[in-house]
Structure formats: C-alpha cells, structure tokens
C-alpha cells in the first residue's frame, strides 16, 4: 500500500514538473514538431484502416438489430452518434496507446538505462523538457486530431456499407448522420481525446523515465505504459461520460 501511494506521489510530482517546465522558455519547438510527425503522421495508416473497418463492422452489426424493428433508416444517425460520442476517441486512444505509448516507454527506458538521459543532463541540456514535455504536448494535441480523422474514416466506411445495401446517397447519409449530432458532441470528442492523449504521454514518459535494471526495465516500461494507459483511458471514459450526461445534457 505504501508503494502504491509513493507511486501516486511520484506521478503527481512528474505531472507538476511537466506543467512547470512546459511554460518556461527555452522551448523545444523543433522536438515538439518532430514528435507531432512521429506520433501523428506515422499513426495515420493504422488509424485510417481501423477507422474504416470500425465503420463498416458497426454498420453491419447494427443493421440486423434495426431491421428487426424496421428502422434501418436510423442507421446513419445511430452510427454517427456511436462513432463520434464513443468509438472514435476511444479506439483512437487505444491504438495510440498501443503504438505510441509503448514506443515512448521503450525509447525513454532505453535512453535511461544506457545513460543517454544522464548524458543530456551533463551536456547542460534539460532532458525533461527535451524528451518528456515535447512528447506529452505532442500526444495531447495529436490524439484529438487523429480522433476526428478516425471519426471521418469511420463515417466513410459506414457510408459505403449503407450505400451498397440501402443505396442511400452521400448527401442524405450525412444529413441524417449529423441530424442527431450537436456542437457539444464534437467539443466532448476533442476534450476526451486530449485527456486520453495527455494520459498516454504521461504514462509512457513516466514509465520510461523511471526505468532501471537494464533491458528488463525497458521491457517493463513499454509494457507498463500500454497496460496502465489503456486502463486509465477506460476509467476516464467512464468519468467523462458520467459528467457529460449528468451536467451538460
């Protein structure tokens, strides 16, 4: 129990240091842009594919249920609600946690155990700012963008499936789809995704930065960053959905 609370204390300190360092110059613009590219552009292909498949599969699964009530016309709005309110931010966050979170944990862990972080420190560079702040900023900003993109790809997958089966045109499909979506849904999607991105960045960086005991520590850091961030994403999803439904709707 003591270890658990010490860990919580360490993470709180780590997050506090992030906020302290993030707003104090000099800023590592180049590294932040580099991380935007690493995290964003390199996740695009998998996000495109999974977004599209999610849209197709969800449409196929929903059709049979709605057909039972003779309500297949509701497909576009049902799919849009599901994708924008839940699937896009959640699936994007889980994919980024798996792809990027583990990468951050392993990379920083490896740098820690091979003394590369100490090497930065003694060359009078601030490794926390260069390695941690840049990655957390990048994940926080890029996950909402990826989630919106995934939502779009999911809707495209859904449209193609609906068009093939119900011959609904693209204008009608999107009119129906967005008839049930309001600004709050988009706002919550962006907010949720930013929270998930921050969680992925903090978890990956914290696990990597604390790594020790050689290659075993690197593996553990990569593993911890994925498992813990996925778990936290689900917890945050539950909390945010409850808050939105109780206080904003």
């Amino acid at each position: 129990m003591r270890v658990f609370f010490l860990r919580i204390y360490d993470i709180t300190q780590f997050i506090g240091r992030f906020f302290k360092e993030a707003f104090v110059p000099p800023y590592e613009y180049k590294e932040v842009l580099n991380q935007f590219f690493e995290i964003g552009i390199r996740s695009l292909s998998i996000i495109t594919l999974t977004g599209f498949i999610t849209g197709v599969v969800f449409t196929k699964q929903s059709r049979s249920s709605l057909a039972g009530f003779g309500a297949t016309a509701w497909l576009p709005s049902l799919i849009a609600l599901a994708i924008i309110r839940a699937l896009a931010p959640l699936v994007t966050a889980l994919i980024v946690a798996g792809k990027v979170g583990s990468n951050i944990g392993a990379e920083l862990g490896s740098m820690k155990v091979t003394e590369q972080i100490d090497a930065m420190e003694v060359s009078s560079t601030n490794p926390f700012k260069f390695l941690v702040v840049s990655r957390i900023l990048a994940t926080t900003c890029i996950v909402p963008v990826l989630a919106i993109y995934m939502g779009f790809m999911g809707m495209m997958g859904a449209f193609l499936n609906v068009y093939r089966n119900e011959q609904t045109g693209i204008t009608l499909f999107f009119q129906q789809a967005f008839s049930r979506i309001d600004f709050l849904d988009i706002y919550v999607l962006v907010l949720k995704s930013a929270v998930y991105g921050f969680t992925i960045g903090v978890t990956g960086c914290f696990s990597g930065y604390q790594a020790e005991h050689g290659t075993v520590g690197v593996g553990k850091a990569a593993n911890t960053s994925v498992v813990v961030s996925m778990f936290l994403i689900f917890v945050e999803e539950m909390i945010i959905v409850s808050l939105v439904n109780n206080y904003l709707k």
Partner: protein, 252 residues
Amino acid sequence: MEPSNAVISLRNVHKSFGKQDVLKGVDLDVLKGENVVVLGRSGSGKSVLIKIIAGLLKPDKGSVHVLGEEIDCLRTRELRALRSKLGFSFQNSALYDGMNVRANLEFPLVRNRRDLTRKEIDEAVTKVLDDVGLSQTVDQMPAQLSGGQKKRIGIARTLILKPEIMLYDEPTAGLDPVTSVDINDLIKEVQQLYNTSAVIITHDLTCARFTGDRVVMLSEGRFLRQGSFGEVFKSEDPKIRSFYNYNFIENT
C-alpha cells in the same frame, strides 16, 4: 584547506544507497591541467564519485567544489551553466541512438551556444571529429560504429563545448588492447590540445599508468593511497598488491 589551483575539491564526501555505504569520507583535489586516475575494483564507488562531481548524484555529507562553485548550493540553471564547462565521457559512450554522429555532436552545441551560425556549428563539428580522428563517420548512426569509435565520438561530443574539466568513466572498458591504447593516447592528446584537467575512473592499470599524472586507489569507499603510479604500487598494502597482481595476471 583546498589548494588555490584546484579545479575540483572533495571534502569528507559520504554517499550511501539504502544500508550500503559506498563512499565513506573521501577527500580529493584535482589541480588545473592535471589528470587524476581513480583506480578501484568494481563496486568500490568510482562511478558514484564521478557522478557526484558532475552533480548527477548528491552526496549525503561533505562538500564538492568544482571550478570554485559548491555543487550542492547551485540552482538548476547555475548547475547547467557549470556543466557546460565539464565533459563527461560515459562508460558505454551514451550516444543518442536516434541521431547520427553529426546530430550527436551538434546537440550540446546548439543548446548551449544559441548565437552560433550554421557555418560555425559545422566547423566545430568538423574540428572535433578531426581531433578524434573520425571525420569519415559524420553521417553514420551510432549502431554502425565500433566500440572504440563510439568512445571517440562520445569524447568528441564533450569536447565540442571546450570543457575545462573532463570526466572519463571507464574509458577503456570493453575495448581490445590496441583500441585501449588508442583511447589512452586520445586522453593524453585531449589534455594537451584542450588544456583540460581530468578525473579518469578505471580499473585498467595500463590506462592508469599511461594517462594519469596522479593515481588514487579507492577501496571500500575510502582512498587507500595516492601519488604517482609507481608510488602507489610500491605499497605493501595487501589490497593494493592484490589489485596490482590481479591486473597483471589478467593483462598477461
């Protein structure tokens, strides 16, 4: 009382990790322009000592002065400014895996000398690479370099800031005898070319004999003896004798 020309002064330095006392009251002065070798067996506290000098670890007790500044009293920004005058060559070189040699060398320079132009940075990179004899590796990644080349690039990365003090952590560890001799030569060249003082942590007697102006023997957290290489190993202290004999047998 520390000598007036001392660039590093340690007084009664203690360091423990949990219940393990690693340093038990160490005193050391490194004079300007002097190479001091700290010899000792694995686990004797050599690396802890050098990390305390670089401010990477804090001593539990005692004082550490580097270039006249007491490390423990410095703020983070002041400590970073002081570190730009220190060069630290790590045991495993600690080159940044994701950057090629050029980016590794530029890294400390662009962050400490924001006034430099692209041309000046390129010239500085070319010069340090020439000094360590590895101009041809400039676009290679660390994974493409041999152990000896990594050590040289690691040293070049510290030299680019023109340090006043060099700290070498096991500079010849894991290298074949011929490459070790090359690294020993390089350490002497650096001392002459850059007019540096140095602390060299090693358990390699050849390295100690060749690179050290003075040798101190660290055992179980205390300095047993210090002086020239010959003076230290004239000692009949069984710990020093066994260290010498072991190295002699190992090297033969």
